[in-house]
Amino acid sequence: MPRVELKRVTMRYGKLRAVDEVDLTIADGEYVTILGPSGCGKTTLVRIIAGILEPTEGEVWIGGREMRGVPIEERDVGYVFQNIALFPHLDVEDNVSYGPRVKDLPREEQVQVAKRYLELVKLLDKMEMFPSELCGGEQQKASLARALATGAKLLLLDEPLSALDARVRVDLRYELRRIVKALGLTTVHVTHDQEEAMSVSDRIMVMRAGGVVETGTPEQLYTQPKDIFTANFVGETNLLEGWVKGRAEGKSLIELRDGSTVEVTECGHKEGDAVVISVRPEFVFPFTDGLPSRVQYVTYMGTYWRVVAQSRSEDRVEFDVPAAEGKLYHQGQEVYLMVNRRAAVVYPRPLEGIAEAVKLE
């Protein structure tokens, strides 16, 4: 399977840089997701890899070969779109065997290939149906089988699950990863859905405004995001605004706007530095002392209660309570909140302000 390298890939439209100097190396057989909000340049980038667009600057290497001028049909890529693009007048089998047919494989081999991939996506029993007779999830599985049947070694998935219902999407993302891993394909998957990205990927590249914010494994991006934008975009988080008050014995003490303090693991910032603490709701817990806060509302999430509170320091603080403990909190209640020191990440306070730094659109 090919290794993919992007070197300073840039796409300009007049003055606008839709993709701005993106570097990325995808290993043989790796599943990488490009994640970002609408308009971040992720779809442009995957089209550049596919060869649908030529970048204005930079290089795309696939399997050790520079791709400038190489058309999509010679790049050996399978491409699956958000909007299912099956041939409506062909049945499922003929849709899937389309690639082998174009390559002039013998008829028996065409059928064999189609059946092999239909079995993999669990659609063997529907191969005589037409696309309109399938539901959305099945149509998308057929699209995937068709892309795989071309014999492509590099799979490009452009929002492959976005058009589907939430529940179908969840089942299909586990299935999707299983299938491409079984075949050992190198995969690039584009999505705006951070939950989907975490479930399917070996690594995630977070994009914003054409540029790369950071790249890491789902675990790295969730537990130790380097950028405050990632902290908020990949999973939910609380952002507490303050200053470094002191440092000692591997700990930093952060003072919030009302003078209350939060202890975090030594963060490398100097005393007096303006900082933001990011801590996820599952790592904030009510205690006998801590940040004085008032509960605003409580929501049942099935296996836990999500409690949203406003702290005296005027930060919004959300915390989770296991459902098994019962509904312990109600609107207007006073609580004291502690932060799990080791789960907190500290960022320099962004010059443009926190809201601007984590803005989702």
């Binding site: 219902d165 529940r167 975490m198 789902p218 975009f233 939910e236 929501t299 099935g302 296996t303």
Partner: protein, 363 residues
């Protein structure tokens, strides 16, 4: 704000029954989520309430007043479509005042309505902007303001967050709910996203095949699903098929191969074939102790707050569990683990007539 009642509503499109004896009551000022898969009849139900679609049979009442023959404009029930349908050539202000403009509302009142609405949806700084100049979230708020400015008593939201990015959708859930609740309007929100319904609804009505199959608070629907379909649609579930054994404070269900599990008390008979459903988030796994049966860890996916664990159980097929992500590193592929759950988290159902697989189909 009215209480809305639908009784025995039927609506056919050719061979398709979009509503098939649909009963639903939406209380005064309530935020109700109508939750179901594509094709369940969600949008049809909304259109019937709004008056845009006439049912073939059944009764619609608003506060006991018979509404079947009432024109849409007399129902004061306004629908917000998932694509917002803003007028591209009109500014935010003109879009919001579209309703009042055609009703010839006096200028003074229009001015006040506009100011109130812009304030409510936090667009006071953008009244002169055109829709294409706005972000998706702002367009959504403009559409909401336009719906509210028409003086609606009933708000019908057809997948109002669908057009937005996943992360933005999550952060706007509470905002949309709070805004609507602050006005006290009776609201019906259609969605296929069970997390969205759990977070936003006072009550959830699960719709499937043109019928309402369960209505209850988010906790009721999640914890006490009425059927295997609901168990698996409102959060993923694991299933165990067997026969009812001993019944005491909990029900024992015995599968083939001599394995047995515990579940909630049920009205089933001893020896009856049943299906046990338990949410993946309530399925516990551990390397020590004794579970109902043993499984092998096939795959571990890091999903943020949770790990998703796929398990293979000899003779029973696949199970899944969600465990807090701090357990990463404490579990490895190939590990043998004990699988169990608390009896009160597991529901018991008769075996569905068409088979379990058919029952669980979500599209």
């Amino acid at each position: 704000m009215p209480t809305i009642k639908l009784e025995g509503i039927g609506k056919r499109y050719g061979d398709i029954k979009a509503a098939d004896g649909l009963d639903l009551e939406v209380r005064n000022g309530e935020y109700l989520c109508l939750l179901g898969p594509t094709g369940a009849g969600k949008t049809t139900a909304l259109r019937i309430i709004s008056g845009l679609t006439k049912p073939d049979k059944g009764r619609i009442t608003f506060d006991d007043k018979f509404m079947n023959e009432e024109e849409p404009e007399n129902r004061r029930a306004v629908m917000l479509s998932q694509t917002y349908a803003l007028f591209p050539q009109l500014t935010v202000a003109k879009n919001i005042l579209f309703g009042p403009d055609i009703r010839d509302v006096p200028d003074e009142l229009k001015k006040r309505t506009l100011a109130e609405m812009l304030d409510l949806v936090r667009l006071a700084h953008r009244p002169g902007a055109y829709p294409k100049e706005l972000s998706g979230g702002m367009q959504q708020r403009t559409a909401l303001a336009r719906a509210l400015a028409s003086g609606a008593d009933v708000l019908l939201l057809d997948e109002p967050l669908r057009a937005l990015d996943a992360r933005l959708r999550i952060s706007l859930r509470q905002e949309l709910r709070s805004l609507v609740k602050s006005l006290g309007i009776t609201t019906i929100h259609v969605t296929h996203d069970h997390d969205e319904a759990l977070v936003m609804a006072d009550r959830i009505a699960v719709i499937h095949g043109g019928k309402i199959i369960q209505v209850g608070s988010p906790a009721e629907v999640f914890d006490n699903p009425i059927s295997p379909f609901v168990a698996n649609f409102v959060g993923q579930s694991n299933f165990f098929v067997g026969k009812v054994g001993a019944k005491r404070e909990a029900t024992e269900v015995r599968g083939e191969n001599g394995r047995s599990v515990m579940a909630q008390p049920c009205s089933c008979r001893e020896g009856e074939s049943v299906v046990v459903a338990v949410k993946v988030g309530n399925t516990e796994i551990s390397k020590e102790g004794e579970g109902f049966f043993e499984g092998r860890v096939e795959r571990i996916l890091f999903e943020g707050r949770n790990l998703h664990i796929d398990l293979e159980v000899g003779g029973l097929g696949h199970f899944a569990a969600k465990v807090p992500s701090w357990r990463l590193g404490k579990l490895s592929m190939g590990d043998k683990v004990q699988i169990r759950w608390s009896a009160e988290k597991a529901s018991v159902f008769p075996v569905p007539p068409g088979g379990l697989e058919e029952e669980l189909r979500v599209e």
